[in-house]
Structures are given as structure tokens and as C-alpha cells.
């Protein structure tokens, strides 16, 4: 049986990012019609800053979702990295590039240590990263006693506030680099393909000669690195080394990939879809403020959004399964 050719429409429908992309577009158009200030340069700047940071956070979770696991420690790694970065600069006067390398190293090490335990013991990632969440957060608070570090270097502050051109913030640059890198990772790099293979069919992946342990450790290391980058971006954006950085990453880090079509059981992720997931969440958060909508409603809307995304993904999966069943029966 030769592979059947699909209509352009069907193929478009199969793309994870088309749906969220359309929703983002419609939301942007609708909100800017109702509130022209939405497209003002400053607002675009603000929106892009928020999107940039949240995208990197979401990517950090996306790697692990691709593997079919979850990383609850994402936020606490980000927080630990953020305060370590500002801390070593403030306390020991370490030059910024060195501090940067040190901080990113902490992120990678934190991620990899969790990955190592998961790979070696095969205890569920949920429990190990839950323990990691407590440990990293505890170390964070133990060091800072919950007081922020203020000694953020001017260069870093400027980075968080400056724009590249027009309303586009510099924060977009690390976000773009991370996104492109992750796209390459998932689509073109050996390790990324192995992560997805492990996520789709761990048994097959292992029998095919993929080193499962190395793949798991890599994935968690990459996740830690992205959490670290996001933490540092937040330091630049907030202009302060806050110990609370990362506390509220959990929900949105899952929501954006899921809205973007990722399947929690693994093997199926979309960087572009995740991007639009982040955009949708950012637009809704901002739209609710703009239109002076009760802040209490925000939570409800976010929850409903996740359910909606889940329903859409589910319908699509069922449709694909039906098409395949028909193909097999023929």
C-alpha cells in the first residue's frame, strides 16, 4: 500500500501550531480593534518581554514532555540560578561573564543530577523532580533567607530594558536563539530525535540501540539549562535577584506546550505550537488587565484554556486514529 496523499488542508490540520497560531492571530486582531493601544510600541515591548521569558520556561518543560516525563523542579532551578547569579556578583564581585557561566552551570548540573537519578533508578520523574523542587527551593531560601539581592550589574539591567529595534526587546534574542536551537534539537539533532523516540516508544528506542540513560540525562540537563536561562532573563527584566523567581512557573510551563499540541505521554512536541501557546496566555493575561476584567477571573480563564486545548488535541488524535484505522482496514 503506498502512502496516501493528503489534501493540503488535512496536512495543515496535522500541524500542531496552526490552531494556536490562528487563535493568536484572531486574538491580536480582535484586541487591537477594541483597544488600539494594544499595538502601541511600548505595549508590544512589554508583551514581547513577557513572551520571551515564558517561552524559554515553556521550552524547558517541553524537552521533558517530549521524553514523556515531567519536570516539577523547573521553577526552583530557575530561582536558584537567578539568586546564585546575582549573589556571587554582589557578595564576591565576580565579573558578569564568569557569573553567567557559573549560573548556567548550576542549572545544567541541577537538571542533570535529577536526570541521573531518574535514569539510574527508573523512579518516576514526578517524584524525583518533586524532591528536587523542595531541595533547590530550600537551598535558595537558605542562602537568601528570602531577601532579594539587589546588586544586579547595570549591564544586565540594561539588557532587560533595552530594545533591539523599535519595540522589540533584547530579551527576545535569547528567546529566539533558544527556540531555533530547540527546533533544531527536536528536528535535526541526534539527541533531540532520540528524546522523541524515547518519548514515543521507549522499548523500541532502547532495542534500537539508543542509550536510554544518556538520553534522559541529556534531556534533563537541557531542561535545567533552559530554566537557568529563563531565570537569568527574569533577573534582567525584574532588575533584582528575587528568591521568588520560579515559584509560579509550573502551571504556565505545562499550559503553553499543551495548548501548542504537545502530548503529555511524550514523543510529540511542537516548538512553534508552544510559542503560540505562550502568546495566547500572554495576550489573555494582558487583555484581562487592559479591559479591567476582574483579576479573579484570570485563573478561571487559564484553567478553561488548558481544558480547551486538551479537548482540541484529543479530537485531532481521534481523527488521525480514525484515518489510520481506515487505512489499515483497506
Amino acid at each position: 500500500m503506498a502512502a496516501t496523499r493528503d489534501s493540503a488542508l488535512t496536512r495543515a490540520f496535522d500541524n500542531d501550531w496552526i490552531g494556536p497560531g490562528l487563535v493568536s492571530l484572531i486574538a491580536v486582531v480582535a484586541i487591537s480593534l477594541a483597544q488600539p493601544a494594544f499595538l502601541s510600541p511600548f505595549n508590544i515591548f512589554v508583551l514581547m518581554s513577557a513572551i520571551s521569558v515564558n517561552m524559554v520556561i515553556a521550552l524547558g518543560q517541553l524537552v521533558i514532555i517530549g521524553l514523556g516525563q515531567m519536570n516539577l523542579a523547573l521553577g526552583s532551578i530557575g530561582g536558584l540560578v537567578a539568586i546564585s547569579f546575582v549573589g556571587v556578583i554582589e557578595r564576591y564581585g565576580i565579573p558578569v561573564p564568569l557569573a553567567l557561566a557559573f549560573a548556567l552551570g548550576i542549572g545544567i548540573a541541577a537538571g542533570m543530577s535529577g536526570g541521573y537519578i531518574i535514569a539510574r533508578t527508573m523512579i518516576s520523574a514526578f517524584i524525583i523532580t518533586l524532591a528536587g523542587l523542595q531541595i533547590f527551593k530550600g537551598i535558595n531560601l537558605g542562602i537568601t533567607e528570602a531577601q532579594p539581592f539587589y546588586g544586579v550589574p547595570e549591564a544586565v539591567k540594561a539588557f532587560g530594558q533595552a530594545s533591539v529595534i523599535g519595540p522589540l526587546p533584547w530579551l527576545m534574542v535569547p528567546m529566539m536563539i533558544c527556540s531555533v536551537a530547540m527546533w533544531y534539537l527536536f528536528n535535526r539533532m541526534r539527541i533531540g530525535r532520540h528524546i522523541l523516540a524515547m518519548g514515543s516508544n521507549p522499548h523500541a528506542a532502547e532495542l534500537s540501540g539508543i542509550d536510554a540513560n544518556a538520553t534522559i540525562i541529556w534531556a534533563h540537563g537541557i531542561s535545567g539549562l533552559l530554566a537557568a536561562i529563563a531565570g537569568l532573563m527574569l533577573v534582567a527584566r525584574l532588575q533584582i535577584g528575587q528568591p521568588t523567581i520560579g515559584d509560579d512557573w509550573l502551571i504556565s510551563s505545562f499550559a503553553a506546550p499543551v495548548i501548542g499540541g504537545a502530548v503529555l505521554t511524550g514523543g510529540r512536541v511542537s516548538v512553534a505550537g508552544t510559542f503560540f501557546g505562550v502568546v495566547i496566555i500572554a495576550i489573555i493575561t494582558q487583555g484581562l488587565v487592559m479591559f479591567n476584567i476582574d483579576p479573579f477571573v484570570v485563573q478561571i480563564v487559564l484553567g478553561a484554556l488548558i481544558l480547551w486545548a486538551v479537548a482540541v488535541n484529543r479530537l485531532r488524535e481521534m481523527r488521525i486514529a480514525r484515518v489510520q484505522a481506515r487505512g489499515a482496514g483497506a
Binding site: 483597544q35 493601544a37 494594544f38 502601541s40 511600548f42 505595549n43 515591548f45 512589554v46 508583551l47 518581554s49 513577557a50 530550600g138 531560601l141 533567607e145 528570602a146 531577601q147 532579594p148 539587589y150 530594558q161 527574569l234 527584566r237 525584574l238 532588575q239 533584582i240 528575587q242 528568591p243 521568588t244 523567581i245 515559584d247 509560579d248 500572554a282 493575561t285 494582558q286 488587565v289 487592559m290 479591567n292 483579576p295 479573579f296
Partner: protein
Amino acid sequence: MKMISKAAAALLLGTFVCVPALADEGTMVALVPGGPHPYFAAWEQAGADAKKEFGLGAADYRVPAKWELNLQSQLLESLLTQGYNSFLIFPGDAVGTTSVAQELVDNGAQVIATAGCLKDPSPALFCLGTDTGNSAYLGAKELIRAMGGKGKIAHFTGFLVDPNTQLRIDAVQKAADETNGAVEVVQVIADIDAPQPAEEKINAYLAANAAGVDGIITTAWVPAVVAANSLRKIGDKRIKMVGIDHDEVVIKAIADGFVDGTMLQNPYGQGFIGSYVLNRLRTGCTLKEDGPWKSNALTVRFVDSGTVFVDQATAPTYVNAMVGITADLLAGFEKDFLTCS
């Protein structure tokens, strides 16, 4: 399991030596905020100074690891077990903290609600704090003055679950109402006492509405910091702003002219005076039932720890302003509120 027991044993033996003996009686003050927050940082110094000044057994600043009602309760219960007998507590919840305070009192300790009040009826001796409503009201008045008596105000404030938040919202509204319509509060953004959401929401608001707003008042620490940064970022000196508290960022923005002033509260004074009063009450003094107690929305036994507005001129020396009001309050406290034998 063997591993665990070994680890636990090692840990226990290792830390055994640092268990303090607290058998010695005396006034053992614990200063316990609701959770970690920069506002309370001054309490640590205040406690240490009070211990030296008044010869207390202890005056320790002990912070729950997170803003969790339950963690604060656990900490308070443990502190009581550790032998502390006098507590300055910022209630994690105006209602929810009442029962643990009651327990402390039932076990012979004394409690002053500090920096925030417990809702009556409560076992606290009294509430020592900023009159948040009044502070917000005065701040709003200062803002309205800076705005030239008319315009539109946006109000950024803290957690909706914080009892003070509603008081502040009402007070700002009251100041605006007194202008007979010349000033209007166009938006209240609440629940943003954490950096990331504050950043997102305040910026989003300013992005869309900067042109439609003439003044900003912030009545919580984080929103003040974030709003000050935002105004600096847009380089806007047209919009007037009055902040709260003494974060470096806010003080610097005042000096640079992006913010018009800030309402200083007096955390140091609260810790220092609170420790003093608790010691006096343990050493023969009683509270005067007919003292000049103020009342607010939560309690009828309220003592204002003072609030002061600093602007561009006074900002560099804001510490003096705080020391000043503390000294004033301390000087008159025994006369006004205490009966000593």
C-alpha cells in the same frame, strides 16, 4: 531504610550541640512575620537593638520559610515550645491567625499583632502598625496635590487575601471622592505582590493606558518597585506617582524625579517599640483600658506606629525620618498606654 536511619542519626547527633538552652526566664521576644518579605527586614535589627537596650532575654526575628498560614502556625507553636513568651506577629491572615495566637495566650504568652492587625475579637493585646488606611489616604492626598488637584488615578496594590488591601482601596477612593469628581480612580490592580505578575500587569496597564492616567498610587511593596521601574523605563515624568515603603529602587526613583514621593511605614519602630512594650508588660505594667486607642476596620485597639511622606527633598535622609517617629512614639508610649507600678 537502614540508609535513612543512619542519615537521620548522623544529622541528629550533628545538630545536637546547637540546641540552645532556653530555661532562663526573662522576656523572650519572637518577631514573626507572615512570611519572607523585604518590609520586615528591619525587624531583625530592631530586635537586636531592643535586646541590648532593654536587657531582654531574647528578641529574635524568625521568619516562616514561605507565606503559608500553616508554616507560620507551626513556627509559632514551636517557638512557644522553645520558651519564647512574648510575640510580635504579623498575622498571615487577619482571621486565620487568631486561633494560633489564642493558643499562645492560653499558654501564658503575650501577643501583639504587629504591622497588620487581627480581626476583633482577638487575643492580641493590641495592634501596633501602620494605619494602612490612613497612610493610603495621606498618600493619595499627596498624589492629588502633586497632580494639581485633578486627573485620573490608577491604584496598584497587594494580595487580595491581605486584610490591608481592602482598607487601602477604600482609603484611596475616599481621598478621590473628597475632590468632588475632579479626581477619579480609574483602575485598581490588585494581587500583584509578586515580581513577575506585577511586572506583567503593571506594564500591560501602562502600555495601554499611560495616556489616560495622570497619577499612580501604589500601596504595596512590589507594585511600588515595579511601577517606579516602569516609569523610569518609559521616561515619563508627566505621570505623578506616590509609592510606599523604602525599597532602594523607589528611593532612587524619587531622587531622579520619576516618582514624587513615598509613604514610609515604620517597620523598625514596630519591632523596637513592640519589644519594649512586651518587656514592660512582663515586668509589672498593664495596659490602660482607657488609653488613646485608635480603631480601624479590624480592631478597636490600634496604635499607629507612624507613617511619613518623603519626597525628593527628604528622600536621601529617609532613615532619619523613621528614627524620628520611632523616638516620638517611644517617648509617649508609657504615659499614654501603660500603667506601671
